[in-house]
Amino acid sequence: MEQLGLILLNGLVYGLLLFMLSVGLTLIFGMMGVLNLAHASFYMLGAFLAFTISIRLGFWAALIIVPVLVGLIGAVVERYGLRTVHKHGHLAELLFTFGLAFIIGEVVPLIWGRTPVPYRVPAALDFPLFSIAGNAYPAYRLFMMAVAIAMFLVLYLALARTRLGLVVRAALTHPDMVGMLGHDVPKVFTLVFGAGCALAGLAGVIAGNAFTTEPGMARSLGAIVFAIVVMGGLGSIWGALVASLLIGFVQTASISLDMPLGTALMHLGIPVNTAMLTDLWQITIARVAPVVPYVLLILVLALRPRGLMGTRSA
C-alpha cells in the first residue's frame, strides 16, 4: 500500500515535469505547425544556466532568472530565426529547429564540459520530509510538485481567463482567421514560443539538480516528450496533460517493479507459455521501463491516430 503511495507521488511529480515540457511543445505545434526539435534543448539550457547562476546568486535567484532568460532566448530565436525561415514552409522550419538542437547540443559541452556538472539541490530543501515504504522522501520532491502545480494553475488561468489566452486557443485551430480579425499573429507566435521555452527552462531549473545535469539530458528526455505530445494529440493541451501523467505513472511504476515480465503478465491474468522464449519472460519490468512510453505511443496511435484528445491525425 505504501509502495503504491510512493509510486503515485513520484509518478505525479515526474508526470507534471513532463507536462511542463510537453505543453510548450504542443502549443507551438498547434499554433505554428512546427514540431520544435530543439524544445528539450531549452530544458537542458535551463539546467546548465541554473547551475552557473546558482553558484553566483543562489538557487532562488536562478529559479526566477533562468526561465526569463531561456524564454527571451526562445523569443529571439523565433523572431529572428524561425520567422525568417517560415516563408519557405514547414520542412525548412523543421530543419531549422533540428539545426538549433544540434548547435545547443554542441555549445553546452563547449562551455560546461562533457561530464555532469555538480548542480545540487539547495541546502534549505535538502532533507528527508517523511518516510514512506521504507524510503526517506526528499523535501525537494515536494517542492518540485508545488512549482509544477503552481505553473499549471498560472498557465490554466492565463489560457482560460485572459484575452491573450483566447487568442492563443483560437490560433490552435484557425491561425489565419485570428490574423484576419486584426490580431498580430506573428507577435503571438513569438510570445508563445518564448513562453514554451521559459517553461522548458523552468523544468530544467527544478529537475536538473534532482536528476543529473549533463549534455545528454536533452536527448533522453526529448524523445519521451515527443512521444507524449503525439500520444496526447498534436496541439491538444489536455491531451498533453493526460499523456504526461500517464507516462509519469507508468514509467515510475515500471521502474519500481522488480518482477519478471512473465510473472507480471500472469498477475494481470494474461497467460503466457513460459516454456517458449524463456529468456524474455525473465527480464524484469524495471529493465523494459525505458521502452514503455514508446510502446504506449504505438498502442495509442494504432487505436486512435489522432492521439488521445487530438483533432488532427499525427
Binding site: A170, M177, M180, L181, H183, D184, V185
Partner: protein
C-alpha cells in the same frame, strides 16, 4: 473610392489564379461578386486581406494595402468572413464574438448588437461554437467580424449549404448591416439574392472580371449569364 483594386494577381504556389483583376467599391454600396465555382472569387477576397501570395495595387480609403499583413489590413477597417466560416470550435459563442473585437478605433458594434441582430446567439452564448448548427455558425462568423466595426465587410458565400429559412435570415442581416452604414462586398452563388440586394455587380471567370454592371443590366444580359454563371 473606398476600395480600389487594380491589376491584382494572386498565386497558390506556382499556379496563378488571379490574372489582373480591377474592381471598385464605393462607400455605402453593396457590391456582389459572382461567378462559377473555381472562378477565383474566394481568392480575390483572400488576396485583398493579404492571405495569399499577390501582386498589384490595392487601395483602401486612399492607403496602399497591397503589402500589409492580414492583421494590419483588418485594423484599417476591412472585415472578412471566409467561405468555411473558420469558427473557433472549442471556444464558446461569446468568446468567438469577443475575439472579433479589435485593438484601435471601433466600438460601434458590441455583443448586444450581435445578440439583437440574431437572438439565437445569446441563447447559445456559453455553448461551444462547434456545437452550433451550420446556419448559426454563419451568423456567428458574420457577427464576430462585425464586432471589429469594419467599414467594409467582405463576405464569402454566406448562404452556401443553408436551409431556405436561414438563407432569408442571412439576407436580412446583410441588409440590416448595410443600413447601419457598412459597405459590403458579397461573394454569392445565388443570383436572386445578389440581384435583389446589390447596387452593382461583377462577374468573374478564370481569374478575370468578365462583366461589370447593375443588377438590371445583368438581368437583361442572358448571354453573360449563360456563359459565366449558369451551370
Amino acid at each position: 473610392m473606398m476600395l480600389s483594386v487594380q491589376g491584382l494577381q494572386a498565386w497558390y504556389g506556382k499556379s496563378q489564379v488571379l490574372r489582373g483583376v480591377n474592381l471598385q467599391v464605393a462607400r455605402g454600396e453593396i457590391v456582389a461578386l459572382l461567378g462559377r465555382n473555381g472562378a477565383g472569387r474566394s481568392t480575390m477576397l483572400k488576396a485583398i486581406m493579404g492571405g495569399v501570395a499577390r501582386d498589384g495595387r490595392i487601395q483602401f480609403d486612399g492607403t496602399e494595402i497591397g503589402r500589409l499583413a492580414p492583421h494590419q489590413v483588418a485594423r484599417l477597417g476591412l472585415g472578412y468572413v471566409p467561405e468555411d466560416r473558420s469558427i473557433f470550435p472549442d471556444l464558446t459563442t461569446a468568446q468567438n464574438l469577443i475575439l472579433g473585437e479589435k485593438p484601435g478605433p471601433g466600438g460601434k458594434f458590441g455583443l448586444d448588437d450581435a445578440y439583437a441582430l440574431f437572438p439565437r446567439l445569446r441563447e447559445r452564448a456559453d455553448a461551444p461554437a462547434g456545437a452550433l448548427s451550420g446556419g448559426e455558425q454563419q451568423m456567428l462568423a458574420m457577427c464576430r467580424t462585425l464586432m471589429g466595426s469594419p467599414a467594409l465587410l467582405m463576405v464569402d458565400e454566406p448562404t452556401e449549404g443553408l436551409a431556405p429559412m436561414m438563407v432569408q435570415k442571412v439576407r436580412e442581416l446583410l441588409v440590416a448591416v448595410a443600413a447601419r452604414g457598412v459597405t459590403i462586398l458579397l461573394v454569392e452563388q445565388k443570383l436572386d439574392i445578389a440581384l435583389a440586394i446589390s447596387q452593382r455587380l461583377y462577374v468573374m471567370g478564370h481569374g478575370e472580371i468578365v462583366f461589370e454592371g447593375t443588377p438590371a443590366s445583368l438581368a437583361g444580359n442572358a448571354q453573360v449569364r449563360r456563359e459565366w454563371l449558369e451551370v
